[in-house]
Amino acid sequence: MSTFSKEHLEFIKQKKKEKRKIVLFRTLSLLLFLGLWEFSVKEKWLNTFLFSSPSLVLQTVVKLFQTNDLWEHIFITIYETVLSFGISSFLGISIAGILWWNKVLAKVVDPYLTVLNALPKVALGPLIIIWVGASTNSIIFMALLIATFLSIIDIYQSFISTENNYITLMKSFHATKKQIFFQVVLPSNYQNIINSLKINIGMSFIGVIMGELLVSKKGLGYLIMYGSQVFNINLVITAVVILGVISYFMYFVIDKLEQKIKR
């Protein structure tokens, strides 16, 4: 440590200072926003009934916590998200692999994939309820619809843009297609797959909430729907805030996981 020059130490100090500054301003801006919100409600600039307030949100959280409902709703939503994420990631990677394997099939299904991906899946909501039934299954189904096609398209794109020289090299050793896939295509697209999974978890989350808004008896989406129906804005905003916290948490976990895998 002591071998660093003065200039280098100064540089590190500067960097740390910059980092502290960013954290400080992040916290300050959040506090400012919450303060302004609370203040405008107190001063009756904003209607509590329509806009709630930070203190009311906090009260709602405490109430939910006391009635033991809070964790259940959060758990259900996260459970559904993780399940959809797992299934859609598996489907995404394996179907992309199959399409890589069979170029003709890939060309045949290309327009279908494009349409299915672009189609607003909410439009299928009523149909899903009729077909799958008003249960957790429809929520998962909705999330899968939203997340899977994007995953397939994304991962397939990276599969087919695998460095051609690697594949030529494998072929020059008379590698089979299976060997090429598992020894080159998959490992060389490792980073791309992770990136695609990152998008996928967000999509699964969106899908689950959308599903919960349509049909559910538990979960944060249900809280939002229920809250809006009985005009309990506190509940709606509380659920939205919790969703925000969960999103950040999921991002955090994935980021840490990625760093851990990368070492």
Binding site: E163, N165, T168, M170, S172, Q179, Q183, P187
Partner: protein, 248 residues
């Protein structure tokens, strides 16, 4: 005794609009442990010939005969194409791994090659920490690991700077001679071709044919760098340059 016999080989490429004749009536023979270079104008189908010989591509007509049954071909590409997610040692074993379970003696052989050619201490490093010349040497060891009877070198030095290129051509030449391999090299560099080869095939413009074959006879033949000082070197250079018929 010839190890390889190519007769009346031609190759056409097709797309919806056009048919391109890349090779036309290529014939030549090759002796065991001979080093042949192929030079010719850009895009004349030199690399096409190598891909056909290696089995990556199919000839439109003509025959290729190997004297040995199951003659093994090692193909060294222009880019080293080392897999960044594998260590140097693992990269060297790729060809063997594709063939099936790796034998203990093959592993030993690869380690010997790494040792002999100064890469042993880097065997557990990843390719990104190697210099261009070292990477190309790893690529050569990867090719040699499968014990090929014939080596195909497709502009193996073109991605390197001049000094590395000279040094590496000396290295590769010595490795090939020491391991007693037969080699065909495609190159743009006339000096490289003359200094390394026993014979040089001159290809014509597309559709390519073998325009001329030079047997390179140098007094005091040694390694490639030394061979450049031989009195005949410049004569060959002039002759081949004229054959290539370059108009700028």
């Amino acid at each position: 005794m010839s190890i390889l016999k190519v007769a009346h080989l031609s190759k056409n490429y097709h797309d919806l609009k056009d048919e391109i004749k890349a090779l036309k009536d290529i014939s030549f023979e090759m002796e065991d442990q001979e080093f042949i270079s192929i030079v010719g104008p850009s895009g004349c189908g030199k690399s096409t010939l190598l891909s056909i010989l290696s089995g990556l591509d199919k000839a439109s007509s003509g025959t290729i005969e190997f004297s040995k049954k199951n003659c093994k071909i090692g193909y060294m590409l222009q880019k080293d194409s080392l897999f960044p997610w594998k260590t140097v040692y693992e990269n060297c074993l790729i060809g063997l791994k594709i063939e099936g379970p790796i034998q203990e003696e093959d592993k030993k052989e690869v380690l010997r090659l790494l040792k002999t050619y100064g890469l042993y201490e880097f065997k557990d490093k990843y390719p990104k920490s190697l210099s261009g010349g070292m990477r190309q040497r790893v690529a050569l060891i990867r090719t040699l690991a499968i014990k090929p009877d014939i080596l195909l070198l497709d502009e193996p030095f073109s991605a390197l700077d001049y000094q590395t290129r000279l040094a590496l051509s000396e290295d590769v030449y010595n490795i090939i001679k020491k391991e007693k391999k037969t080699a065909i090299m495609v190159t743009h560099d006339l000096a490289e071709a003359i200094s390394m080869s026993n014979r040089i095939l001159i290809f014509s413009k597309r559709p390519s044919t073998v325009k001329k074959i030079y047997k390179v006879q140098l007094t005091n033949r040694k390694g490639p760098i030394n061979n450049r000082k031989c009195p005949e070197f410049n004569t060959y250079y002039d002759l081949i340059w004229r054959d290539l018929d370059v108009h700028i």
